[in-house]
C-alpha cells in the first residue's frame, strides 16, 4: 500500500495545516516577520519560476518588477487610493511594463536575454533612487497606512493591523498564485511553455507562436512579481530603492534554482529554506557566501532540478525498488 516513502498529498495537507496554525506557535515577532517575508518572496520566486523554470528564459529583471509593484502600491495608497484597488492596479502596471520590456528584450536569446534584463533591473533601481518627486529618492516612501478593513457579515470588519492579519493576507495571495500557476502549467499552454524551453526551433515547427508564448509567460510572471511587491510594501509600511534592487533578483534566482526549477513547490521551499540557512550560518559572517557559492554550484551540477526535483527523483527510485521487491517475492 505504501509504495512511495513520501505521500505528496498527505505532506501538503500537513504543511497547509501547519501554515494555518503558525501564528499560534511562532516564538517571536522577529521570526514571524522573517516568515511573512518568506511567504511574499515565495510568491515573487514562483512568478520568476514561470519565466525561468517553465519557459526557460533567464530573466534578471524580476527584482525590478517586484519594485514596480511595491512603489505602485506605496504611491497610490499615499495618494489616498484604497490598498485593495492599488494592489491589482500596481500588479497591472508591473505587467504592462513587462509587456513593453518583454516585446523588446525577448528577441534576444539565452545569455543575451539575461544581460538585457539585468540592465533593465539596474536602470529601474537607479530610477527609483533618483526620481525624487515620485519615489522619494533613496529615502523612499514611508509611513504607509494599513489596508482598509474589509466589511464582513456576522464577524464584523476584518482589520489588517496585526502581524497575524498580514501573514494571512500574504498566505492567501501565495495560495491563489500557486493555484493559478497549477492550472496554467498543466494546460496545453503550459505544455507549450515547456516545448519552447525544450526545443525552440521545433516548437516553432509544430506551430507554436514561440515569441508570443514567451511574452505571455514574461508578462504573467511579472504580474505575480508586482503582486508580491505590493504586499511587501504594505507589510513593511514603507518602500525604498532596495525593493527594486538586482540583489533581490539574485535572491529570487537562488530560491528558484536551489528550491527546484520548473516545480511548483520548489521556489516556495527555497524562499523558506534559504533565509533559515542564512540565519544558521550567521556566525561565519561574510564567509557564509563562500559556502553558499559552493552549495549553488554543487546543486546545479548534481541536482539540476533543485531540492524538490532531487527529492522527487529519490522518491520515484525508492518506489521503483519497492515495487521490484514485491514482484520478486
Amino acid at each position: 500500500m505504501f509504495t512511495k516513502p513520501i505521500h505528496t498529498k498527505l505532506l501538503y495537507i500537513v504543511i497547509f495545516v501547519a501554515a494555518l496554525l503558525l501564528p499560534w506557535y511562532v516564538p517571536d515577532a522577529y521570526i514571524f516577520q522573517v516568515v511573512i517575508t518568506s511567504v511574499i518572496f515565495g510568491i515573487a520566486a514562483s512568478g520568476m519560476n514561470l519565466i525561468l523554470g517553465y519557459t526557460g528564459q533567464a530573466t534578471l529583471a524580476h527584482g525590478a518588477f517586484f519594485g514596480i509593484g511595491a512603489y505602485g502600491v506605496a504611491i497610490m495608497t499615499e495618494a489616498g487610493i484604497s490598498f485593495w484597488l492599488a494592489l491589482p492596479a500596481a500588479a497591472l502596471i508591473s505587467a504592462a511594463v513587462g509587456l513593453v520590456v518583454g516585446v523588446l528584450t525577448l528577441r534576444t536569446k539565452g545569455a543575451y536575454f539575461a544581460i538585457v534584463t539585468l540592465c533593465f533591473g539596474v536602470i529601474a533601481w537607479i530610477v527609483a533612487g533618483n526620481w525624487i518627486e515620485l519615489t522619494g529618492g533613496h529615502n523612499g516612501i514611508y509611513g504607509l497606512g494599513d489596508p482598509t478593513p474589509i466589511p464582513f457579515p456576522f464577524f464584523g470588519p476584518i482589520e489588517f493591523t496585526t502581524q497575524t492579519s498580514m501573514y494571512f493576507l500574504s498566505l492567501a495571495a501565495l495560495l491563489v498564485v500557486l493555484f493559478a500557476l497549477y492550472r496554467l502549467v498543466y494546460s496545453v499552454f503550459g505544455l507549450s511553455l515547456m516545448a519552447v524551453r525544450n526545443n525552440e526551433p521545433l516548437a516553432d515547427a509544430v506551430g507554436i507562436n514561440t515569441f508570443a508564448t514567451k511574452v505571455i509567460s514574461f508578462v504573467a510572471g511579472n504580474f505575480i512579481a508586482g503582486i508580491a511587491g505590493g504586499i511587501y510594501a504594505i507589510m513593511m509600511a514603507s518602500v525604498s530603492p532596495s525593493a527594486t534592487s538586482y540583489l533581490l533578483t539574485f535572491n529570487f534566482l537562488i530560491f528558484v534554482i536551489l528550491g527546484g526549477m520548473a516545480t511548483l513547490p520548489g521556489p516556495v521551499f527555497g524562499a523558506f529554506a534559504i533565509p533559515v540557512l542564512m540565519e544558521f550560518l550567521q556566525f561565519l559572517q561574510d564567509y557564509r557566501h563562500l559556502i553558499f557559492g559552493a552549495l549553488l554550484i554543487a546543486v546545479i551540477i548534481y541536482f539540476p532540478q533543485g531540492f524538490v526535483g532531487g527529492l522527487r527523483r529519490l522518491n520515484q527510485k525508492i518506489a521503483a525498488r519497492r515495487k521490484q521487491k514485491t514482484s520478486e517475492s
Binding site: V188, L191, A195, N199, A205, V206, N209
Partner: protein, 236 residues
C-alpha cells in the same frame, strides 16, 4: 498543391538556394535528392516558413505563404518534420504527440481522434506513451518525430532526411511506414534524402538538387536509370 516559383534564399549573405521552381500536386509522393550541402534542408526550411526567401513566391493551395509566420503555415496543413529527429526530450511520448496537434488545441475531440489514429499507426508509441522521449533509440525517436508531425492531420508533410543515422534494417521499416502514410492517409509527402536508392524506390517523382539549384527532375524510375544520378547518389 505546392508551387515554388524562382525561389532564392540567403543565409548570412550567402545565397544557398538559386532560382528553384517546382510543383507538387495533391496526393503525390515526391523525393528531393542531393548530397550533403546541396541545400535540401534550407529549401525545406524555406517552404515551411522558418527561413524567408529573398525573392520568388511559394504558394500552398493557392495561398501565398512565403511571408507568413511558421505557425500560420502549420495551420494551413503544411508541416515540416525537421532533420535530426527533433523532439522535446524531457516531455513524455504522449505530450510530444499532443504538441504536434497544437494548431487544433481547442478541438479536444479532433486531438483525441488524431492521437488514436497515430497510435494505431505506431502501436509501440502507445505502449510507451508515458516514457520520456529522450530515452528512445534512434529509430523510435524518428518514428515519434513523424508521428508528431501527423498529429495535426496535415495535408502535406515535409520529411527532412528521416533515414539519417539509422541502421539499414530500420531505414527499410521507415520507408514502409512513410509509403503507408502516403497511401492510407492520403497525405502528400515531400521527402528529402541522401539515400537516393531508398527514396526512389518508394516515391513517384523526384527532384535533384545540386549546389542549391534544381538540376534534374522526373519520374522516380527514370531517375533511377539516369546515368548521372546513378553515379552521384547510388554509386553503381
Amino acid at each position: 498543391m505546392l508551387k515554388l516559383r524562382n525561389v532564392h534564399t540567403d543565409i548570412g549573405g550567402m545565397q544557398i538556394i538559386h532560382n528553384v521552381s517546382m510543383e507538387i500536386s495533391q496526393g503525390e509522393f515526391v523525393a528531393l535528392l542531393g548530397s550533403n550541402g546541396a541545400g535540401k534542408t534550407t529549401l525545406f526550411r524555406t517552404i515551411a516558413g522558418v527561413l524567408k526567401p529573398n525573392s520568388g513566391t511559394i504558394e500552398f493551395n493557392g495561398v501565398e505563404i512565403h511571408r507568413m509566420p511558421v505557425h500560420k503555415i502549420v495551420g494551413l496543413g503544411l508541416v515540416l518534420c525537421p532533420q535530426g529527429r527533433q523532439l522535446f526530450p524531457q516531455l513524455s511520448v504522449e505530450k510530444n504527440l499532443l504538441m504536434g496537434a497544437y494548431p487544433m488545441r481547442k478541438d479536444k475531440m479532433r486531438m483525441q481522434k488524431n492521437l488514436d489514429r497515430v497510435y494505431s499507426l505506431f502501436p509501440i508509441l502507445k505502449e510507451r506513451s508515458n516514457q520520456q522521449a529522450g530515452t528512445f533509440s534512434g529509430g523510435e525517436q524518428q518514428m515519434l518525430a513523424i508521428a508528431r508531425a501527423l498529429m495535426s492531420d496535415p495535408q502535406m508533410l515535409l520529411l527532412d532526411e528521416p533515414s539519417l543515422g539509422l541502421a539499414p534494417l530500420i531505414v527499410k521499416q521507415m520507408a514502409d511506414t512513410i509509403s503507408e502514410i502516403n497511401k492510407e492517409l492520403d497525405t502528400t509527402i515531400f521527402l528529402s534524402e541522401q539515400n537516393a536508392n531508398m527514396a526512389l524506390n518508394i516515391t513517384d517523382r523526384g527532384y535533384v538538387l545540386e549546389n542549391g539549384a534544381c538540376v534534374l527532375s522526373g519520374e522516380s524510375s527514370q531517375l533511377q536509370d539516369d546515368e548521372s544520378v546513378r553515379k552521384a547518389y547510388i554509386g553503381a
